[in-house]
Amino acid sequence: MIDTFVEQFPILIVTTGVFSAFTILVSGIFSRKIGYYILLFVTAIHFMMSIAILNYVISFGRIHYWIGGWRPPWGIEYVVDHLNAYVLVVILFLSFLSVVFAKRSVEKEIDEKKHPTFYTVMQLLIAGCCGVVVTGDVFNLFVLAEVASLATYALIAIAGGKALRASFTYLILGSIAICFYLLGIGFLYAVTGTLNMIDMRLLLQNIYDNKMVQVAFALVVVGLGIKAAVFPLHTWQPDAYTYAPSAVTLIMSTVVAKTFVYALIRIVFSVFTVNFLQKYINAWELVSWLAAVTIIVGSILAFRQYNIKRMLAYSSIVNVAYIMLGISMFYSYWGLSGALANILNHAVAKGCAFAAIGAIIYKTGLKDVRYYSGLAKKMPYTCGAFLISALTLIGIPPLAGFVTKFYLMLGCLEVKNYTMLAVILLGSLLTLAYFWRVVEEMYFKSVEDENTHGNAEERFNEAPITMLAPTMLLAILCIALGIYWLTSIPLEIIDKMIASMGVILK
């Protein structure tokens, strides 16, 4: 009885998400306040459901859910295995924190008339992302990815001004990306006659030499690569992150980015298998070199930015490159572990950084790094959280980001690729360089301005609790997760995730 109950959860998360989105829209007619609380409640419930799903998957194996009772090759199937469940927990946790964070930030940045619409679209975004993660059907993935993407365009544009142009650019590029993806699955459908991922994987095994399959692979990777902001395809991302409202930047940099990275991993490893990748190994050399170039160039570009949000956006591009580097070492256990660990670690660290920056912008309105001097005295907790997230992204030992880099380095040693080892070390140094600028301004520059000499209350001016709590929680998680990864207990789950991706390592 209880088993079937949990098996309903993947679909319930998506459908009740859409349900609650339109309830918020209707509630906007009567009251502009109530929508936020509906969103908060529903997201909290969904987060608990996702933990139940993870628990169920770990104890009983993967969930197959046939929508409408139609059998898989014909009907839509939702499949939740270890990898899905893990990513689902990560994105629902971060969307819950983003929703908690959003209240005050949205109250300040967005016109009150638009609040119900804003929360409606935010709920649609979360539901769409969850749908992308739990689905086992390539066409269903396309539809839900479009739901999530359309919600993202609207959320970016709600800020007005330059965000409009950034959103339009993202819309054009994102739609081209999704069209590439659709064309790719069209090719795959033409050669296999199925849309189910597991079925497609089986049918593709004998026709890897078919040109159609290879072109489809290129199209799908480029399409999802644009969405995930992989290096040469990232051009929409810095503008979109910079001009979006703080809460939207937070949810985009964590939830949406991780969703599409997941989709890329899922399609590359579960539909096209490692056998396919090994046949065309030269292409993957190119991917690893691109990742290496990204780590260096992206860090230098981040160093050149004075707008803090843009700097963090480039840092996100660099971190996606770490994931791609891990994926490109698909024949190494530690490389893949690093990539999978980075999904969680980067989401937590970057979420913490964007939340801290959002709090700072909420309190002071400053976006330029050069004016951050003496901020640590004014907002000690927020700046402390930012410091921890910066140290995490640099990769200082007990913190979470160190684990990613440590695994990736082990992966490099495993495949004897010493160039990439050097690139990862250099990347860490460059990360240190661009984060140190901010930390130096915050902690070690004294304020000589006369207008900051106020009374004690004005000097200590901390962010409100609904913004501070998620930031601090994420900062604590940065430390706790690092120690948790280092105890090597989670390696067991990573083994199972790699197995559920269909990768069999010796």
Binding site: T15, V26, G68
Partner: protein, 161 residues
């Protein structure tokens, strides 16, 4: 507001043709056997409203179909469609899958599983989709029609199909 120029022929023709369009939309929505037609029927009904707004002026159209009604109808259609799927889960005590209409017990016991599925697809789900699509398209039209006084909301409605 300046006096709008009225065209008697256009107004009379559209007055005569509007009920026919609405009936045709309803026919496309529920008149056929089996699934399909909700989106198309909703589009046709929305076209009738848009024709009305184009002919009689956008202000009059807005008074006939206010924004809050649009919001309400969009959600109502989704509740019908999505709620029907969720009720299948609830009515079967979490045994049947989402959208598995044949497990919808009161109907199943009365008419049998296939008839239950057909009835719900034909009369509940298609009508739900139709209402959502109709309200969403009318809402899109009003949002895109140039509003000088207040800002157009960029509110997108994602249809489920």
């Amino acid at each position: 507001m300046k006096e709008q120029k009225r065209d008697v022929i256009v107004e009379m023709t559209s007055k005569k043709i509007l009920p026919i369009i609405l009936t045709f939309g309803l026919y496309v929505m529920v008149g056929t056997e089996g699934a399909g037609g909700g989106f198309q029927g909703g589009c046709i009904i929305a076209a009738a409203f848009i024709l009305y707004a184009v002919v009689f002026g956008i202000q009059k159209g807005r008074t006939k179909m206010p924004e809050s009604w649009n919001t309400f109808f969009t959600s109502l259609g989704l509740y019908l469609y999505c709620g029907c799927g969720l009720l299948a889960i609830i009515a079967s005590l979490f045994v049947a899958e989402f959208l598995n209409y044949s497990a919808f017990w009161p109907l199943t016991n009365l008419f049998g599983p296939y008839e239950a599925r057909a009835l719900q697809v034909e009369f509940v789900v298609e009508v739900g989709i139709g209402i959502t699509v109709f309200a969403a398209f009318v809402s899109m039209f009003y949002d895109l029609a140039w509003k000088d006084e207040d800002e157009a909301e960029d509110d997108e409605e994602v249809m489920e199909c």
